[in-house]
């Protein structure tokens, strides 16, 4: 016992010295490139990232993750973006993942670095985005001792990750990192957090990287169901055959699975309109005749009306979130439901369904397609005519597009529509949270999958600029626009400097209503106009941009919009357009909390809303 005890004491002492970066325990003694020194845990991290095809990651240094920064120079293929706040790094990894379909990577140090990542990890969790977040932690012997910058980050991320790890031994790193990437991207995607002690990063190791087979063998509890059960598919086909008023509901799962083609084919074969959730925007080209529109709390009235009168909902890769259903008791009262999702836990969670199908959206739709009878257009003629009429009606009453709102101020929906047009609907549009997010989803006009990025589940203000930064690093070849309110913009604008330093060409459309717009809207409609804290001061954004070295322009009138957008497009690196928009414009329709899809508020106050 005494021997073990003194060994323990020695380990703590060593760890304490390490915390002070004392001595040459790091490979500082190396003479040249990485071949001439010992391979350590930090090398394993870099190797693993490269093996996983990571070309860029978003990170911020700190004491316990310095061993990694010490070897980074030996891996020039691995591009490191030095963010200005770890939350920005996590959102960037998220934005990168959403537009590329690859796993995004962010890193931070222990303690505050790790807690700063948390909002970004949670955002990725609620939207099922595959990211791997890596943090350093204090040396293993100091864990649990409240050492400097020690926090139980594993305990914090446990309920908000798909899986998480604490690694204290470099020999474990190859396996853990391979598992982390496999788990993040396989089945229902999601964030994985890997916490690595400083001594593990410094430890010499010869451990090799496992093959995918070895990884899977080590994860016996992780076997996502990809293919739909044949009997269930037959039941679904029968439901579809019997339906007169079917509506297909497309969610994020369609985009994750890259199932747009299969979705369109099914819609065409059964002549069913397609509605989409906030995260399902882009699942079908909005110009398609069966593309019916955005559903839910701020969705189109005609879409919600179609859902309320449907006799069958074919829901694919969506989770019947409260923003989509409103009061479940009154939701789609006449509809039977076929629900396709890769996560069995999503089926029957929020609404009871008639036909559950667990599986990957692409595989399920590919299998279901040949099993359904084609529906001749004549059979749906009355139905689709009625829907077309509803659509005309709702587009006419949902005010938008005339440029100026009251007193000549810019109308936000007009600006969004213009940005869509002037970018030929070919850019990537990253929304923030609030009114701007809803305007973006409603009016930009989406044609391609994964060109709309939004924090739907967590609703994280400040998401837009850093996520756009990651999206722009994704190498999609598309222009990237961050659409943000002045509130959200002020939450993470420190990343402007990152955009400048790395010349990341994000075009920022700042929708400045000098309000927390969505808060103001709720206060007007639900809290009897008690506008506490809705008014938001902001700086002179032209001066702000100038201070960062970002070309910027301001537009306050409809006739200035085109030039302002063109100006930003003409800038090679990042650019900012300050749209001074109306302060009191609301997003309509709006489903008040607790109400149902048939209880939309369509206007409030004057008829010009």
């Amino acid at each position: 016992m005494p021997a073990a005890g003194s060994r323990h004491a020695a380990a703590i002492e060593r760890a304490q010295r390490e915390m002070l970066h004392e001595g040459a325990s790091s490979p500082a003694v190396r003479t040249g490139a990485h071949g001439t020194r010992q391979r350590i845990g930090a090398d394993v991290v870099c190797e693993a990232l490269l093996r996983q095809g990571v070309d860029v990651f978003f990170s911020y240094p700190g004491g316990v993750i310095l061993p990694l920064y010490d070897v980074l120079g030996d891996y020039p293929e691995l591009r490191h973006v030095l963010v200005r706040h770890e939350q920005g790094g996590a959102h960037a990894a998220d934005g990168y993942a959403r537009v590329t379909g690859r796993v995004g990577v962010c890193m931070g140090t222990s303690g505050p670095g790790a807690t700063n990542l948390v909002t970004g990890i949670g955002t990725a969790m609620l939207d099922s985005v595959p990211i791997v977040a890596i943090t350093g932690n204090v040396p293993a012997a100091l864990i649990g001792k409240d050492a400097f910058q020690e926090i139980d980050i594993n305990g914090i991320t446990l309920p908000m990750t798909k899986h998480n790890y604490l690694v204290r031994d470099a020999d474990e790193l190859p396996r853990v990192l391979a598992e982390a990437f496999h788990i993040a991207r396989t089945g229902r995607p999601g964030p994985v957090h890997v916490d690595i002690t400083k001594d593990a990063l410094q430890q010499e190791t010869h451990a090799g990287h496992p093959s995918l087979d070895e990884v899977m063998a080590g994860l016996p509890g992780f076997r996502p169901t990809m293919d739909g059960n044949h009997r269930q598919l037959k039941l679904a086909a029968a439901e579809i055959a019997a339906a007169e008023r079917p509506v297909i509901l497309a969610g994020h799962g369609v985009l994750h699975a890259r199932a747009e083609g299969e979705l369109r084919a099914l819609a065409e074969k059964i002549q069913a309109p397609v509605a989409w959730t906030l995260l399902g925007v882009g699942a079908i080209d909005e110009r398609h005749p069966l593309a019916y529109g955005y559903m839910g709390m701020h969705g189109w009235k005609h879409v919600n009306r179609a859902i309320q009168s449907a006799d069958l909902l074919v829901a694919v890769g969506m989770r019947f979130d409260d923003r989509v259903t409103g009061n479940v008791r009154t939701y789609a009262p006449y509809a039977r439901i076929v629900h396709v999702d890769i996560d069995p836990a999503e089926i029957g969670k929020n609404v009871a369904v008639e036909v559950p199908i667990v599986g990957d959206a692409k595989r399920v739709l590919a299998a279901l397609g040949p099993m359904v009878e084609p529906v001749p257009a004549e059979r749906r003629a009355d139905y689709l005519d009625q829907l077309a009429g509803w659509r005309k009606d709702s587009e006419a009453t949902s005010w938008h597009g005339s440029g100026a709102w009251r007193d000549g101020y810019l109308s936000a929906d007009y600006v969004v529509q213009k940005i869509g047009e002037l970018t030929d609907h070919e850019a990537i549009y990253v929304g923030d949270v609030g009114q701007n997010q809803m305007w973006l989803a409603r009016y930009a006009g989406f044609r391609h999958p994964n060109t709309h990025v939004s924090s739907g589940g967590l609703g994280t203000m400040g998401f837009s600029v850093p996520a756009a930064m990651g999206a722009a690093r994704g190498g999609t070849g598309r222009e990237v626009w961050a659409i943000t309110g002045d509130g959200g913009f002020q939450m993470t604008l420190q990343e402007l400097m990152t955009l400048v330093q790395d010349q990341i060409p994000v075009k920022i459309a700042l929708f400045d209503n000098k309000k927390l717009g969505m808060i103001r809207q709720w206060q007007e409609i639900i809290y009897a106009g008690n506008y506490h804290s809705a008014h938001l001061l902001g700086p002179d954004y032209l001066k702000l941009a100038a201070a960062f070295g970002i070309p910027a322009v301001k537009a306050s009138r409809p006739e200035e919009v085109d030039d302002a957008v063109r100006f930003a497009q003409g800038v090679e690196g990042p650019a900012l357009v300050w749209f001074e928009i109306a302060g009191e414009q609301n997003v309509f329709p709006m489903m008040p909390a607790g109400k149902g899809l048939s209880d939309l508020i369509e206007q409030w106050g004057g008829p010009d809303e």
């Binding site: 309920p159 899986h163 007169e244 009306r305 008791r329 006449y334 009871a352 369509e602």
Partner: protein, 199 residues
């Protein structure tokens, strides 16, 4: 001031327009009863924390939870008892499956099982009633595992009801301390939960 839209018109073909739309049933509104789940999990540090954290975060109320190793290396077993309607408990099962370390979850509530728990009860005794307590322990198939001048520790195992019953009987003498393990469950007959876990 406000104008609200009329409810969407047009139910399915044939449904009278004036009839109130039917109300959708909410999942999980059925009768509550006690469920017993057996979860086979990878024997790793932290797995108990994951299960407990999930049940808390998802608003499931655990009555008892017993964890132990099994005869298979690397495999642990949890017996979880919780109250809820069948749909809610099925949802708990599915949520548990989302944990990477969970290999198999079975709701054995409706299956023939042996369910036992163990209790240790430190009963206050005096010279005059010690014999009576010892007799009672014997009658209830309990076992005396410790005797002192003022106390007797009785060990009892059996179904929850049997343990409840024993505790109620000795309560009149005075209970100084009580500990119960929570139920462990095994299905009767030729089936094996452990063998059903694919590796």
């Amino acid at each position: 001031m406000s104008t609200q839209s009329a409810p969407a018109q047009g139910g399915p073909q044939g449904a009278p327009a004036h009839a109130a739309p039917p109300s959708r049933a909410l999942p999980g509104g059925g009768d509550q009863r006690l469920h017993r789940l057996v979860a086979s999990v990878v024997d790793k540090p932290g797995v108990l924390n994951r299960v407990a954290s999930l049940m808390r975060a998802r608003n499931f109320n655990i009555d008892s939870l017993a964890v132990s190793r099994t005869d298979r290396e690397g495999l642990s077993r949890m017996t979880i008892t919780l109250h809820g309607d069948d749909v809610a408990v099925e949802q708990a099962t599915k949520q548990l499956y989302r944990l990477i370390d969970v290999l198999k979850v079975q709701d054995v509530t409706s299956e023939p099982t042996v369910q036992h728990e163990l209790a240790l009860v430190k009963v206050r005794v005096t010279d005059s009633n010690r014999a009576e307590v010892l007799k009672l322990v014997e009658l209830t198939r309990g076992r005396v595992v410790d005797v002192s001048a003022e106390t007797v520790i009785a060990e009892i195992s059996g179904t929850e009801a049997e343990v409840d019953n024993f505790v109620a009987c000795v309560r009149e003498f005075g209970i100084r301390e009580l500990v119960r393990t929570g139920a462990v469950v095994m299905t009767r007959g030729g089936t094996s939960i452990e063998e059903a876990v694919k590796r």
